[in-house]
């Protein structure tokens, strides 16, 4: 099935108009140009942050929506002005000092952790459903969890493409529950049985962006700070540091989708810097930016579609920026997707064969109805928009909330120390999980064949998890899988 980006972008004309306005310098704008963001050493942290907000949004929207022409135009307006000789050599020197590796390693590993941290909770809820019950709900959770696995592998592909060794099986790669996602969020993710509570958490994980990040619209004109005249008093320093870039995320990023937007922007920035330090000029179009630069990885390490299947969506190998775009489109399109408090009620979202974003899939379970075939006119405003929170009102989706094992929330292996056999069972589960991660690790190190083993481990995981969930721990609750790191 084709991937779909639910993200509703600003109409291209508005963007172009904005960009043209920036270039011709006739109207003032609220954000400094991309060129200044990169080459101007004198901008303040505040300007840098504002610039980041604006450009990460604009650039990401263009590229992740396949607006290559719009992007080229944007580039030419952003990189159009001349850089003085002295500025240029200073900038080049400073930018060549920027090492993208530790920064991208940190941020991409965090992306892997984000994807990884959703998998055990989803699997736990899935396994806790008693066999033969809740077929539709199981199918929906399964469809989401396999996509998270796909995302994890694809982030590994991105890392390999930029010559950074991905890691999935070390102790620090394990999520610890309950936990907060490494973003600006205020809910906890944990290992819980299938219930309205756990599904509500899943909806929160996949939830669309907060109103804090909004695409720039006509409010350009209301800001009166002129372009290129930003706080000249700022000390000359490099703002492109891991600390700043991460800090930006922790403050401004509230959803997984936004995280990928910013991460994507960072990748493009590093690719621009690489181009600049190599050529001494800024790239003028997508083609110049697409290959080379930071994409120095060994193609033999890429996991390819023929090695991965049956798990939601297409796996994209990454050898250039275009590959990164494909990966991020897939991840964003499948996840929460939506980027505004309302979205375009494009009826195609709810058509047969369309892939509903995870957020909506979980809402279907929560509200016990499908979206497909529902009448949403009562929820729709005069512009044909409806709130993302609109519940599904299509065909009934029968859910038996009681047909799940009463598993203790966030169990730890240490909870089982009084029961030798249970402890051994719990340990065995963790070993299987470790073997699964080892197989993935080996695969992303270039032994793609190892991925086949993961199928076997996935079958074993389910059986062992259900075995644990069958064991009473105390009067109220049963044991469950703990997904903790273990030595083999």
């Amino acid at each position: 099935m084709r991937q779909r980006l639910i993200n509703k972008i600003e109409p291209q004309e508005t963007l172009l108009k904005g960009a043209r306005a920036l270039a011709s310098n006739t109207i003032v704008s609220d954000a400094i140009s991309m060129q200044s963001l990169l080459t101007d050493s004198s901008i303040s942290k505040a300007d840098w942050t504002e610039g980041l907000k604006y450009h990460s949004k604009t650039l990401t929207n263009l590229l992740l929506n396949d607006q290559i022409e719009g992007f080229n135009h944007y580039l030419s307006t952003q990189f159009g002005s001349k850089i003085s000789e002295s500025e240029s050599s200073k900038a080049k020197k400073r930018l060549s000092d920027v090492d993208y590796r530790p920064i991208l390693q940190d941020l991409l590993q965090t992306a892997i952790l984000i994807e990884h941290s959703t998998i055990p909770p989803y699997l736990t809820a899935l396994y806790s459903i008693k066999d033969g019950t809740n077929a539709s709900a199981s199918q929906i959770i399964r469809s989401v969890v396999v996509e998270e696995m796909l995302h994890m592998i694809m982030v590994c592909n991105v890392m390999n493409a930029v010559s950074i060794q991905p890691s999935v099986n070390r102790p620090q790669n394990y999520p610890t529950y309950p936990m907060k996602l490494p973003l600006n969020v205020d809910f906890y993710v944990g290992l819980e049985t299938f219930s309205t509570n756990s599904i509500a958490t899943f909806i929160a994980i996949e939830s669309p962006s907060s109103p804090l990040v909004k695409a720039p619209t006509s409010d350009h004109e209301t800001v009166s700070t002129p372009l290129f005249t930003k706080s000249a008093t700022a000390p000359e320093n490099n703002l492109w540091t891991l600390e700043n870039m991460k800090g930006f995320i922790m403050e401004n990023v509230h959803t997984i989708g936004e995280y990928y937007d910013v991460l994507f922007f960072y990748i493009v920035v590093f690719q621009v810097i690489a181009y600049y330090t190599e050529h001494g000029t800024l790239p003028q179009n997508f083609e110049e930016l697409n290959t080379g630069g930071i994409f120095t990885g060994d193609p033999a390490k890429q996991i390819r579609p023929e090695q991965y299947y049956g798990s939601g969506g297409k796996l994209h190998p990454v050898e250039s920026l275009a590959g990164v775009i494909a990966v991020f489109q897939e991840i964003k399109g499948q996840g929460e997707g939506v980027d505004d408090s309302i979205f375009d009620v494009d009826p195609s979202q709810f058509e047969e064969g369309a892939e509903l974003a995870h957020y909506f899939r979980f809402k279907e379970v929560f509200h016990e109805h499908y979206y497909l075939g529902g009448d949403y006119r009562p929820f729709t405003d005069e512009n044909g928009m409806m709130p993302v929170t609109t519940p599904p009102v299509g065909k009934e989706l029968p859910v038996d909330w009681s047909a799940a094992y009463p598993m203790k929330a966030n169990p730890k292996l240490s909870d089982y120390t009084n029961n030798k056999e249970l402890y051994a069972q719990g340990l065995e589960f963790n070993k299987t999980y470790r073997r699964l991660l080892d197989a993935i690790q080996s695969a992303v190190e270039g032994n793609q064949k190892e991925l086949e083993k993961s199928i076997m481990y996935m079958y074993a995981l389910k059986e062992q998890a259900v075995g644990l969930m069958n064991q009473p721990l105390n009067a109220q609750s049963n044991a469950g899988p703990t997904f903790e790191y273990t030595n083999l």
């Binding site: 077929a135 539709s136 199918q139 469809s143 798990s311 047969e352 064969g353 499908y370 989706l397």
Partner: protein
Amino acid sequence: MSKTDNKKDVIIVGTGIAGSLIAKLLTDHVFDVEKGKMIHRADAKKSETIREISILMYEAGLEAGLELDSASSMTTYNEYMRTFYMQEAKVPNSPYPNLKQAPSPNVLDIEPIIPPFPDKKGYLVQFGPMPFASDAIRVGGGTTLHWLGTTPRMLPNDFRLTEKYGIEIDSPDSDQKTPINWPIDYNLLKPYYEMAEFEIGVSGDVSKQEYPISESMEQYYGDYVFPMEEIPQSYMDQKIIDGLTGTNVQLNFQTIPLLMVPSPQGRNSTPNPSYGKTRLIKAEALQSGYQLVLDRSEKEEYKALGAVWNPYMGERCEGNASCVPICPVQAKYNALKTLKKALYKMNDNENLQRNPYLEIKAQSVVYRLSVDENEAISKVHVRRYISKEKTDFVEEVIDTSDSIVILAANAFENPKILLNSKYTVIENGQKVEKIVANRSDQVGRNLMDHMVMLTWGLFPEPIYSYRGPGSTTNISSFRDGDFRSEFSAWISPLDNWGWSWPAFSPGSDVSEFLSEGLFGAALRDALTYRLSRQVLFHFEIEQLPNPNNRVTINDQYVDALGIPRPVVNYDLTDYEKRAMEQAKLASDQMFERLEIEDFTQYNASDNNTFVYNNVRYSYNGAGHIVGTHRMGFTPEDSVTNSYCKSWDHPNLYIVGAGNMTTLGTSNPTLTLSAFTIRSVESILTDLETQFKN
């Protein structure tokens, strides 16, 4: 009685693989009014000069089985799974609704017949003397829901048994002999085999196919690969191959070298990169008429087609090992996949949109056709039952004088409907009573099945049975040869599922050891020893057409809706019995060579058993219900022409395995798909004429 007014261009009876293929191919084409030609939807520009083909399909099975949107189809299929898990006897029909309003033949109903009294226990009324041993299911998607999925093509000589081996059979009710060559040959069918293999999604390795034929494999397959790579052969297969490679079997006449080949099959595996892009089955207009081609202009890579409700489920076979009766993830092809492609078409968003020109009426049992003065089929008579529980029904008639009627209801139902359709014409001032499509008196005759003789034993070392799809390897050595002038050819699939078929293992092993007083570790050890060593060989023996093996109807035997039940007369001849004797010889020699301890037992109490040359043989049905409306050369020798079109009526097609002139040694689904696809060329030609008038 209610009348449906809105006219349809095409009426299809049955939603199994034949009906679904036709529906899919017809809905992929539209009529270009300006050019006066049928064109593929992909080549049609948005314009008002396009006319869609309107189609109505009837299905006897339940409504739920035909709701193919994701949510509904998953719910229904899960219900099939649940039923399967609960059933004690996991026979092929076990997961699917057993309907009193549209009953199905079931292997559980088969019992020995004591002539002259028929066996009436199940849906079939069996006069024998040998019970017909196969089942089928009347459900949306038809019997492909529980087929095994093995898809060998027929061999060139299978199409010309008279020409090649001098075999002739009796004409109905006379001593005259009739040839049994097909009106088409292998080479003619070859491109349609490729189309069928594309549509079904066949996995296999062309380069490993080896058959006892005089043609080279280059001639047989040409420059060709299957859409998907081979499903891995099982460990057991490897062990047997190791033991038999390079050896021969000595039959009474001939020494035959053993060829063990991986079976091509309709279940998903890794797409073959050499197959490349996906394809379109497209009609190309000829001077007159159409030719279907496998168009290669598509840009998308070929992709395995997963479950009807979720394309990411079942993209590969997972080895659930319950292909028959049900693949839990739909990695195995079933006709619902094709039907969904007819029912939904890609819209501008590249999502699926319900195709408004195809209507499916479920719970509708077609039981009779009427004929007008031009010998055209003028009406289709239907009984539509209201609910699963009740036998109340609505009588419906649809006017078909301007439509094409296609019977695709299987080799029991098609002749049953035809034989129930009597009409009177005035010839030379005399009233003459006729039966629809039956000028040749061949309707219902030549009922065939493969007789599956099973031999089983214990391998000297563990070969770990019960894993993987039912069969991944077959011995092709006996599929053709000079011996065919004396006895049947056969194919020998190796079976991955232990003794489950002949002995109901592993349950029967548990009972046996329990009754011996074993328990605990000793019981476990005994089971481990036996279950890991169980091997089972099939000998699927070709049955010749025989006019006296037939389906008839009789007013005395009707179902709950008052519709006739198939009355079956059926027997074996020495041609097949002798083949079984020879196959047992082959089995004995192979067992000896592999040091398999033989546990085969044939008993007088078996349902299908006989004594030949003082030795008892028993067999099972293969589920290959074939031959009751054969295609042929002339209106005198057959029911249809090679395009499955009735000789007697200008607007009637009869499609399915019933068209097969002879059976060969292949599982029939692939072949019936191939010639059914070909029949669409003729249907499109007829529609062109219809639309121009």
